[in-house]
């Protein structure tokens, strides 16, 4: 009996030692694989494509400077077409192939679909494309989120309108998408209305993919709204600006979240969009802060690819970059546990000015990056930080 217990104990010890020494998935002698699930097609492909490029830059930069622990870092990208069930399948595929970490997590509901898998298999996950609250609240040991809430962004523009644009006594309204993204926007707007005691006269939901906003903007005109918080993505914002111009709403100011902080929105809305406000925790590409990032990106991307670079590229670059920095700090013990330890050590990571330096702690896996309000400067094709 005694002997058997001893043998069993030895076996268990052996087994434990075995697991401790076995490398985490995705690491071979030559390569470290990281995975991404991105909406490369479908309605938000602009974000997926830009994100893909950000990872590409970060990995090219890392591999050009010796890789990590003598290994090349490579990314495996899966497209989910912005459909949660496909995101789930793609995640399963990535995990079956074996990846050390996941840095691309698609949209909110897509992350919701994949998260149980990531938690169950303890995959180190960095959420940078779409900072969803479910991912960091409550804290999950292996999931880190860079950014802030959409609601905080809309809150910031409304706050700016109240404090700097003298809109305190104006009538306020919000147009939001009928999904989780829109719900998030609506919450931020309602919080601002409550905090500043604003006159909220309109809350208009719209269906994803809606093209025509004439009736919505007529309502805005009819209610004599002075500031409209717009939770549109691309086409929706463009349509809203164009309708406002058509109706001659000169005193109406429009505030948006960072989905409007994209060159494409600026181009498509043309003069009609001149002067709209947006809020983002990522710097603008024209901003002096972001110059180091732009320099690195130009080095590793073709001219065609540079055209697709936008804030999502900077977000994904930030995510991949902190992963590489932490992996390099763990060269001796390249395990997920060590990298997680590095990430949550409280150290401030800087990412070439793509966003303000940020860090995490064991109780807070969320960077909660500060938001800046930007204004569309159509003539110079850039977004200018407003004076604070």
């Amino acid at each position: 009996m005694h002997l058997m217990r001893r043998v069993a104990g030895a076996l268990m010890l052996g087994a434990l030692a075995g697991t401790a020494h076995a490398a985490d998935p995705g690491i071979t002698d030559k390569e470290i694989k990281i995975g991404e699930v991105l909406p490369l097609t479908g309605p938000v492909s602009f974000a997926g494509e830009a994100h893909y490029l950000g990872t590409k830059v970060a990995l090219a930069e890392a591999n050009a400077t010796g890789g990590v622990a003598g290994r090349k870092v490579v990314a495996v990208t899966e497209d989910d077409g912005y459909v949660p069930a496909r995101a789930f399948q793609a995640a399963q595929k990535l995990l079956a192939e074996g990846v050390f970490a996941v840095t691309g997590t698609s949209g909110t509901s897509h992350l919701n679909a994949m998260m149980p898998l990531f938690i169950e298999q303890k995959v180190l996950t960095i959420v940078s494309i779409n900072p969803a609250e479910q991912a960091y609240n409550p804290v999950k040991k292996n999931i880190f989120v860079i950014g802030t809430d959409y609601g905080n962004a809309l809150y910031a523009v409304v706050k700016y309108a109240v404090e700097k644009l003298g809109k305190k006594d104006a009538r306020f309204g919000v147009i939001y998408q009928d999904d989780d993204f829109g719900a998030n926007n609506l919450l931020g707007y309602q919080r601002a209305v409550k905090d500043f005691g604003l006159k909220n006269v309109l809350e208009i939901p719209y269906k994803r993919g809606q093209k025509d906003f004439s009736a919505e903007m007529l309502r805005v005109q009819n209610e004599n709204v002075g500031f409209i918080a717009s939770g549109g993505i691309i086409a929706e914002n463009v349509a809203i600006f164009k309708e406002a111009k058509k109706l001659g709403l000169k005193d109406l100011r429009v505030g948006t979240v960072w989905t409007a902080h994209l060159p494409i929105v600026q181009q498509l809305s043309g003069e009609a969009g001149d002067g709209y406000y947006t809020a983002d925790y990522m710097a603008d590409l024209s901003d002096a802060d972001a110059a180091p990032f732009v320099e690195v990106a130009k080095k590793y991307l073709s001219a065609d690819e540079m055209k697709k670079v936008n804030r999502y590229t900077m977000a994904s670059y930030s995510g991949a970059s902190i992963l590489i920095q932490s992996m390099r700090a763990c060269e001796k013990d390249l395990t997920r546990d060590c990298v997680i330890g590095q990430l949550e050590s409280g150290k401030k990571f800087s990412v070439n000015g793509a966003t303000a330096p940020f860090g995490f702690s064991p109780s807070k896996h969320f960077s909660d990056s500060p938001v800046r309000v930007l204004q569309n400067d159509f003539k110079n094709a850039r977004f200018v930080r407003v004076p604070e």
Binding site: F46, D178, G209, K211, A235, K245
Partner: protein, 290 residues
Amino acid sequence: MNYFFALLGSGLAVGAIYGLVAIGFAIIYRATRVINFALGEMMMLNAYIAHTIGVHTALGFWGLVPVVIVVSVLLGLVIEFVLIRPMIGEPTISIVMMTVGLAVFIRSLVVLVWGAAPLEFSASPGDIVLSLGPVRLYLAQAIAIGLLLAIMAGFAVFYRYTRSGIAMRAAANDETVALLMGIDVRRIYALAWVLAASTAGLAGLLISTIYELGPDMSAFGLRGFPATILGGLDAVGGSAAGGFIIGILENLGEGYVGRGLKEIIGFVIILVVLMIRPFGLFGTRNVERV
């Protein structure tokens, strides 16, 4: 009251687009008894080709109109010749599925060739805003309304007075008899596809100037269904009128009720119309019941 008229006016503008799409369904259905589920996609492909031509030749809106018509005639002919003509005589379900397959194909093709992000369409007839009382419209929207009315009138004349129009009605009425009377039914079918492709092409051009040029533009094809069902699946003028009605109802629904009603009101109308008046407001009454 101003508010009401403003809603009415912008509803007409949206409705004109629905009408232009719906006419395409009606022309093809009337001649061949097939619903072309690829109409929205044909419209989109046309608009993308027009965009590319516009970029390379710097043609303006009015210069692109004949281009669009030529492109859509070719497109209509090719599709009819390659995909539809060999299927004549097959069960309707096979022909309809052919159009569904075509729709999936074009949708992917467009994204592969032109990318998924919306493109800037600079060939607009001008950023001029027309105002009539409380109603304010962009020039392109006014053109859409005018164009739809003109096309309605044109088809009324076409079906009544021209040889091809009468032949088309005859073929729709009874294919066999029409054949016996010496009408080349195949040519009539091709003509129907060409006409539908042209109206859809113009709709595509207008949509990309009024809204934007993106791969989800094909959704407008879907939005044309309520108009054509309401107006009558075989009534060309009726479908155009149906477009106007749906556009106005949507805008009034949003203006006075809200809650995203406008995006589904058309589809609710489909169910209601089929329950009480399956041939639509202006369609022929001989919809066969089983």
